[in-house]
């Protein structure tokens, strides 16, 4: 770990000023950043602590009937808040599927969006990684890549985004509220995380001095027909090999809206509106779910160690949609898969 300065910001204005240096980093829960510093992956000149900024820790209904979750709300608090569990159970479930209770107690809503990949090459400065050191090559492409991307990857990077919460947020079409030296703006969730392309060092579209202030959920929470299914190497405290957030709105004509987001398979939570559209107007049958899975995984490509993920993702999508349609969401405490 390098030597760094530490300051605590009392206001966003102060935070912007303190973080003007491109090598400065904001810190809130620090559950990922401190790890990265210990591994010398991040070497910030200064940590600007934004964990005490006022007004960012509320969970409040919005005028349109949605919910606004402040950026400093911890993952453990969001996971049990009645507004979340009642109206957005898929989000609560995804939160509980992630990390450990200790980490969830420290991790924040805003920080969760900014988690960096768990690619082993990214974490190991002795190895090549374009995300850590642009131009050094991708160690994982022909290396140990069991946990890597099958969708949307590039020759420069096959890392995956590790968050569970973000997969549910993608399916819910959340909106990210940010503030920066140039004022406030909102970012649609689908636009927040990037695909690696030839700039894998950039995970998101957030600018350097910008701060996430809240995540806003639209009114539709799919409370009756949604699920978060996470498949991993052990039953707790492991990143997803594949995860699926699936949400359906059903009416007399069958499926009226479908949302399917995948985790563990791409550089960002993966959605494909065209694949979802295939379900609209259909009866919730396995055949329909399979067609959706086929479309979602169209173009999926393995890299050796992760070849298995393509078929696994297919089966997981079908299972998650089955759970969502039946209204039998996956429990995160009973490890039996519904």
């Amino acid at each position: 770990m390098n030597r760094f300065a530490y300051v605590r910001a009392d206001s966003t204005a102060a935070a912007f000023r303190d973080a003007a240096d491109p090598a400065a980093r904001f810190i809130a829960g620090g559950t990922n950043l401190l790890d990265l510093m210990k591994y010398d992956v991040e070497r910030p000149s200064r940590l600007v602590d934004i964990s005490r900024l006022p007004g960012l820790d509320g969970i409040e209904p919005t005028a349109s009937g949605g919910l606004r979750i402040g950026a400093l709300v911890t993952n453990s608090r969001a996971a049990v808040a009645a507004e979340v569990t009642e109206h957005y159970p898929m989000l609560a479930s995804a939160l509980l599927a992630g990390a450990s209770p200790q980490l969830r107690n420290a991790a924040t809503t805003g920080g969760n969006l900014l988690q960096r990949t768990r690619c082993m090459y990214f974490y190991d400065p002795a190895t090549p990684c374009n995300k850590r050191q642009p131009g050094s090559g991708c160690g994982a492409l022909d290396g140990v890549n069991r946990n890597h991307a099958i969708l949307g990857a590039s020759e420069h990077c096959i890392a995956t985004h590790p968050s569970d919460m973000c997969v549910a947020l993608a399916a819910l079409e959340a909106v990210v509220h940010v503030t920066g030296p140039n004022g406030d703006r909102t970012i649609a969730f689908a636009d927040f995380h990037r695909l690696p392309g030839d700039e894998p060092q950039r995970d998101t579209t957030l600018a350097h001095s910008e701060i996430i202030t809240a995540v806003e959920l639209p009114p539709q929470g799919y409370a009756g027909h949604s699920t978060y299914l996470k498949l991993r190497d052990r039953h707790s405290y492991a990143f997803a090999l594949v995860s699926v957030a699936a949400a359906l709105a059903l009416d007399a004509g069958g499926i009226s809206t479908a949302r399917v987001a995948l985790g563990g398979v791409a550089h960002k939570p993966w959605r494909d509106p065209q694949a979802e559209a295939l379900l609209v107007g259909q009866a919730p049958t396995e055949a329909a779910f399979r067609r959706c899975a086929d479309a979602l995984l169209h173009g999926a490509q393995g890299h050796g160690g992760n070849d298995f993920k393509i078929a696994l993702a297919h089966d997981a999508i079908v299972r998650a949609l089955t759970q969502a349609a039946a209204g039998t969401p996956q429990s995160q405490t009973d490890k039996r898969i519904a």
Binding site: M1, N2, R3, Y39, D40, R118, M120, Y121, Y123, D124, A126, T127, G139, D142, G143, V144, R146, L231, D233, R234, H235, S236, Y237, A238, F239, L241, F308, A311, L312, D315, A316, R319, K335, R336, I337
Partner: protein, 753 residues
């Protein structure tokens, strides 16, 4: 050991055999138990090792300029500027080193494995040392390396020099090839187990305290202080009394603490050179550079009659080792120790690869070979349509066919019977895929386990003082196994004292000599040594009592008295009794002290073979479509001689079973062969089982006392818990799904096939 000192058959144990809480439990949960990195010293310096990032090559230059400039950095050692150290390999040998040339830290410019320490940064603070270490630039010329076992298996060789204490495979008996070829039923497959790392919670650490005049006190994470002591004095040319090594508590080791690791060398080197105390702690990443359970490919060929009787048994194994040491363990012999067969061919080979040397890891060798044979036996059972347990029972060896000796005790069949009963095995449908609940297939599998019951020379001291307090000590360790508690029980019983009156001391090189705590031998060996020392104290006390005027004990020997409730009591007339304190006061002695050595009885060893056994039964539920396995039940029935403390013993077996679950389902050290580097070197990516992966584990101990082995009749428990577990789980997955998995760990994609 003389007959007079043995446990009188009619004297009941008061503490031995009873569930007792750990005597050090309170210290451990309150932070009172201090570990190697927690000891402090005035002006303590901190050392951080800098690792090489290539697997093989030569160092051209080490650039320390930026690192030296970090405020607080005191010195940076490399092979170029280190103090003189011996060149001879012999000086770096340790008590458990395999044949070969031990790694010599900072010796020269050669890089032998990725992660090898090539520099040590010493600074006033840990932060400064850590930061400076990250600034050291190693310019090295890479040479071609090989780390892929599968690709290099053609280069496998029989190790020319055998490792001490490791039985090589026996000569071929009968005609295994011919017998296999004509056998009506043939099973022939490969069984592959990936490398694993120990990952104890406590990282390796050494705090070397400069005492002046070239004297050192060293707190080391080690499973035996004598090993560290001999290593340091040998390399650095110190007299035995100049170095005092202590390791009072060890936060898990599982074999990784048997050999002195490089942080010890580095800390001592820097301390002697700087004449200041230095602590070196390994990072979790560096914990992946000090040895591992070697990836092993087993090949098994079983030939059998139509009823499943074995006619041919062939088991060969190919395992990784480093380029500089021939690490060896017992992998294949277990097959014939479990099963009777006239035609047996066993062999064991190594492949030299560019990693650090593998190192003993809980039951070294056994779970690798037993996974193979116990999976193959399950396959044989299905080939001949026999119940897998019945098929095993039919083929169990009742003598040691390798050594041609009877077993001192062998309760394997009883372990199987009791385990099966507890599990409900008789209700098991034979056909795979015959139990289902919802989306899950349910499977029941079993396997046996085996480990050698060993005893090694241990010396112990016992000292009873006039205040009725007894202190016992021996230089072995308590690596979390409960040694302190066990010795306290043994000592208390030997002199009829309450456990509260006894203090056990361990992990101190000034205590009577003992080897490393390993091999499951400590209760049998250290327990016996403490027992003998205490009984000698008893004998001396009785001598004093006999000589007292008008003594009721005149003309008595130990056979005529019991020691109970702090008193010597005449058996023939229990009203005749004296407290130990009275005896000592009357004799005018402030303390009674004795030292005794326990050794295996050579006649017994010549006559008998001794093993511990287990029968492991597992229930799994498999979501076949997704490949998700849930382990829902485990019964481990263990036959391991007398159980000194059923409470800590149960913990030992549970820990072993969890280790086995990890081996079965989770643990794998992943190598990038292009880089020659273990990649998942942290606890987020190296998966040990989480609590959610572990079901209720039912441990039962078969009633067995092996008095041929030692007066306490104990065998040992450290390893047996892991041994059959992976095979039992694999066999259960087969029973659930009909899919036979021969590659560990059985991760989701392997279960999906």
């Amino acid at each position: 050991m003389s007959a007079a000192l043995e446990v009188p058959a009619d004297r009941p144990f008061r503490h031995v055999g009873q569930p007792r809480s750990r005597v050090d439990g309170r210290l451990k949960v309150t932070g009172g138990a201090r570990y190697a990195a927690e000891f402090d010293a005035p002006n303590l310096l901190h050392g951080v090792a800098v690792p090489a990032s290539i697997a093989r090559g030569r160092i051209r230059r080490i650039d320390t300029e930026a690192a030296v400039a970090v405020p607080g950095v005191v010195h940076i050692y490399t092979h170029g500027n280190r103090p003189p150290i011996p060149a001879s390999d012999q000086d770096y040998q340790d008590a458990v080193a395999p044949p070969g040339k031990p790694f010599r830290p900072l010796f020269n410019d050669q890089i032998l494995f990725s992660g090898q320490p090539v520099a040590l940064v010493v600074a006033e603070t840990l932060d400064a040392a850590t930061y400076a270490a990250s600034l050291v630039r190693v310019d090295a010329e890479a040479e071609p390396h090989e780390t892929n076992l599968e690709r290099n298996r053609f280069a496998a060789y029989v190790p020319p020099e055998k490792r001490s204490g490791i039985a090589p495979p026996p000569e071929t008996r009968g005609f295994p090839d011919a017998a296999f070829n004509v056998a009506p039923v043939q099973i022939r497959n490969e069984y592959h187990v990936e490398s694993e790392h120990h990952n104890p919670m406590e990282p390796h650490a050494s705090t070397a305290i400069w005492e002046g005049d070239g004297r050192l006190t060293v707190y080391d994470k080690i499973q035996g202080v004598m090993n560290s002591h001999a290593y340091i004095t040998g390399i650095f040319g110190l007299d035995a009394d100049q170095v005092h090594v202590l390791s009072p508590f060890v936060g898990g080791a599982f074999g990784s603490g048997l050999r002195p690791q490089y942080q010890l060398f580095l800390a001592v080197m820097a301390t002697l050179d700087l004449k200041r105390s230095v602590r070196v702690v390994l990072s979790r990443e560096q914990m992946f550079t000090i040895g591992y359970r070697p990836e092993t490919i087993n090949s098994i060929a079983l030939g059998a009659n139509a009823d499943g009787t074995l006619r041919a048994l062939k088991h060969s194994a190919i395992a990784r080792t480093s380029t500089f040491e021939d690490y060896q363990e017992v992998v294949v012999n277990w097959s014939n120790l479990l099963y009777r067969c006239e035609n047996v061919g066993l062999d064991y080979k190594l492949v030299k690869l560019d990693t650090d040397t593998p190192c003993d890891m809980r039951a070294p060798g056994a779970p690798l070979g037993v996974f193979a044979i116990e999976t193959a036996m399950d396959e044989l059972a299905y080939a001949v349509k026999r119940d897998p347990l019945e098929l095993r029972t039919q083929n169990f060896a009742d003598t040691d066919e390798i050594e041609g000796k009877p077993f001192s005790t062998r309760s394997l069949r009883e372990a199987c019977r009791q385990g099966a009963e507890k599990f409900g095995w008789s209700g098991r449908p034979f056909e795979p895929r015959s139990m289902r609940e919802g989306k899950e297939l349910i499977g029941w599998g079993m396997a046996t386990g085996i480990w050698e019951a060993m005893m090694t020379p241990h010396t112990a001291r016992a000292c009873l003082t006039a205040d009725g307090k007894l202190e016992v000590g021996t230089a072995t360790a308590d690596i979390g196994t409960g040694t302190y508690t066990m010795l306290t029980q043994v000592a208390a019983d030997a002199l009829g004292l309450p456990m509260e009156a006894v203090t056990a001391r361990l992990g101190d090189s000034r205590l009577p000599k003992a080897p490393v705590e390993g091999g499951s031998w400590t209760t049998a060996s250290a327990g016996t040594a403490v027992h003998l020392a205490c009984r000698k104290v008893a004998d001396t006390l009785l001598g004093h009592a006999r000589r007292m005027p008008g003594s009721p004990f005149a003309n008595t020997s130990l056979d005529h008295v019991t020691f109970a409730d702090g008193r010597i009591v005449l058996r023939a007339d229990p009203s005749k009794a004296m407290t130990l304190t009275e005896v000592m006061q009357a004799a005018g002695v402030p303390q009674v002290e004795a030292e005794e050595t326990a050794e295996p009885d050579p006649a017994m060893k010549q006559q008998f073979s001794s093993y511990t056994h287990s029968a492991v039964f597992a229930e799994v539920r498999v979501d076949e479509q997704l490949g998700v396995v849930r382990l829902t039940r485990i019964v481990s029935a263990v036959a391991a001689g007398r159980i000194v403390n059923p409470k800590t013993a149960r913990s030992q077996i549970i820990g072993g079973v969890v280790f086995g679950v990890g081996m079965a389902l989770h643990e794998e050290s992943m190598l990038d062969h292009r880089l020659g580097r273990f990649m998942n070197h942290n606890l987020a990516e190296y998966h040990v089982p989480s609590a959610a992966d572990i079901p209720d584990i039912d441990v039962l101990f078969v009633d067995e006392v092996d008095e041929r082995l030692n007066p306490l009749g104990v065998k040992g428990l450290g390893e047996i818990g892991i041994v059959g577990t992976a095979a039992a789980i694999g066999n259960a997955i087969f029973h659930a799904t009909g899919k036979r998995l021969r590659h560990l760990p059985m991760t989701l994609e392997r279960v999906r096939g």
